[in-house]
């Protein structure tokens, strides 16, 4: 397990790197029990143009203590110490500080051990009898730089693995959506036909209470049908497979039709529904989808606005864009909830009437290359939804 100190050391070591250039002044721990060699290495590494900051440890025990207590850029490690020998020395040091690059010192006739040390994580090996100060400094620099690149590579790999994992979760979620939607669509149709059949066959024979129950049942089935349809659409949007049948479309005309469709509901709810639509504006859009957006927005507004409130629908042209606005005087939203309302998995508003509908509208508008925004000045202060689509011209063109 990596100790916290070791992790901190690695981070500090990286901090001393500037871009792809290793700064001089690296901190080197020389682990060597022979005083003559200690003196030689210290003299070389602390002298010359590129001076290193050298600390000496004469045993494995001391080296382990040093390496977890201070941030070293590299350890120059003699494998033969009084309390440790051969590759065990390397392993002992790696246990204490896995991240610190190590260059091992071997006897002049022991290339095999040096190669084995490199295979087991050392950055390089230097034969003691053939050691040369310039080459040694180069070895140290390369070892530190190699380790830095390895760290970067490892981090990139970890990010890639995490990204792949998230993509897989996303794909699994979309598959679940699609499967759930398909599974739910099946029983809804017979349910709807059954309720309609009952209404026709029992017409005039039901008590007022039974009639109300059947009416309510039909309302719930229709609501369920809409929810499942939304689920299918969201699954298609998430998977990027929603097909649009685009054509030049009069946005004002769609707004007029939507307001006409929802006026009876507005009257039932005692709401004032006002349309203000600018001269005819053509957008390149799928009429079924834009109709769906307008219906969702008006449905939301109806359910969010208490009796006596007002809903405004505006369509106007702003430069080369068509803008549609649905504003209400309803429950509004808290600032901290606004962002969540248009995100599919965070919306989750089961009571207020907003929720996945807004996320779906946003997805549809963005699929058309447009933008979608939800604004509210706060709870109880109403809400404004505005979406923008690029125009293709006006009917007078």
């Amino acid at each position: 397990m990596r100790s916290a100190l070791a992790v901190g050391s690695a981070a500090r070591r990286r901090d001393r790197m500037v871009g792809a250039t290793v700064q001089t002044g690296l901190r080197v721990l020389v682990v060597e029990d022979d005083p003559i060699f200690q003196s030689l290495l210290r003299g070389w590494l602390e002298g010359g143009q590129r001076r290193y900051d050298v600390t000496v440890a004469a045993s494995m025990e001391e080296a382990r203590r040093q390496v977890v207590g201070a941030p070293f850029d590299l350890v120059l490690l003699d494998l033969n110490l009084p309390d440790s020998d051969g590759l065990d020395t390397l392993h002992g040091l790696q246990d204490a500080a896995k991240d610190v690059p190590v260059v091992v010192l071997t006897s002049h006739d022991d290339e095999e051990t040096g190669v084995a040390a490199v295979r087991q994580g050392a950055q390089d090996f230097v034969q003691k009898a053939a050691v040369d100060p310039d080459a040694l400094k180069r070895n140290i620099l390369y070892a530190v730089e190699r380790r830095r690149l390895e760290d970067l590579h490892q981090r990139a790999l970890r990010h890639e693995i995490e990204a792949r994992r998230l993509r897989e979760i996303d794909q699994a979620k979309n598959r679940f959506y699609q499967a759930a939607a398909r599974g739910l669509q099946g029983p809804i149709q017979p349910l709807r036909f059954g309720v309609q059949l009952l209404q026709m066959e029992l017409q005039g024979r039901l008590t007022p209470g039974q009639s109300d129950t059947l009416q309510s049942l039909q309302g719930h089935v229709e609501h369920l049908e809409r929810l499942v349809a939304d689920l299918v659409d969201i699954a298609a949007l998430q998977a990027g497979s929603m097909e649009l049948e685009r054509r030049a479309l009069d946005l004002r005309r769609l707004a007029v039709e939507a307001v006409d469709r929802w006026r009876p509901q507005a009257e039932t709810n005692r709401l004032r529904l006002v349309l203000d639509a600018a001269p005819d504006t053509l957008v390149d859009a799928d009429p079924r989808r834009i109709r769906q957006v307008l219906d969702h927005l008006l449905d939301n507004a109806m359910r969010s606005t208490p009796a006596g409130g007002r809903i405004d629908v505006l369509v106007r042209q702003e430069g080369d864009r068509a803008v549609a606005v649905v504003a209400d005087t309803g429950v509004g939203a808290r600032e901290e909830d606004i962002q969540r309302l248009t995100e599919v998995f965070l919306a989750g508003d089961a009571e207020g009437g907003r929720g996945v509908g807004l996320a779906l509208c946003k997805g549809i508008v963005e699929r058309h290359g447009g933008t979608f925004g939800f604004q509210s000045r706060g709870e109880g202060l109403g809400a404004t939804v505005r979406f923008v689509l690029p125009i293709v011209g006006t009917l007078t063109d």
Partner: protein, 121 residues
């Protein structure tokens, strides 16, 4: 290699080491002389005690720096002791340690002359 005289020192190698160590060279050289002498004594004691492993270890420690300081004869003798200790060739170890002693004495006489007065061990 430019070994001349009875001291067995390669003066070119010695000069290179001196140049690379700069100001820290006298300290290194003094240490080589004192610690080198200890390594030789350890070898001799180990031979008397029939402890070939200890003799090999001392030879192993002295060998690389002997080469670097420019004493190839000493380095070679240390190598022979190490090899003989590995194969438990006792007679060769004894002869090798004697060679190490001779080579070290010869080299250290010459090296001591290169020390500034204050560093003389």
């Amino acid at each position: 290699m430019a070994v001349s005289g009875g001291h067995g020192i390669d003066e070119d190698a010695f000069g290179r080491l001196q140049a690379t160590l700069g100001a820290s060279f006298p300290e290194f050289l003094a240490l080589f002389l004192t610690e080198g002498a200890r390594h030789v004594e350890r070898m001799e004691r180990a031979v008397h005690a029939d402890d070939l492993a200890a003799a090999g270890s001392a030879a192993h420690a002295l060998r690389p720096t002997s080469g670097l300081v420019g004493a190839p004869g000493l380095q070679e003798a240390c190598g022979r002791v190490e090899a003989a200790c590995r194969t438990a060739a006792a007679a060769e170890v004894v002869a090798g340690v004697e060679d190490v002693r001779s080579a070290f004495e010869a080299a250290s006489g010459w090296l001591r002359m290169r020390l500034p007065e204050e560093e003389t061990p």
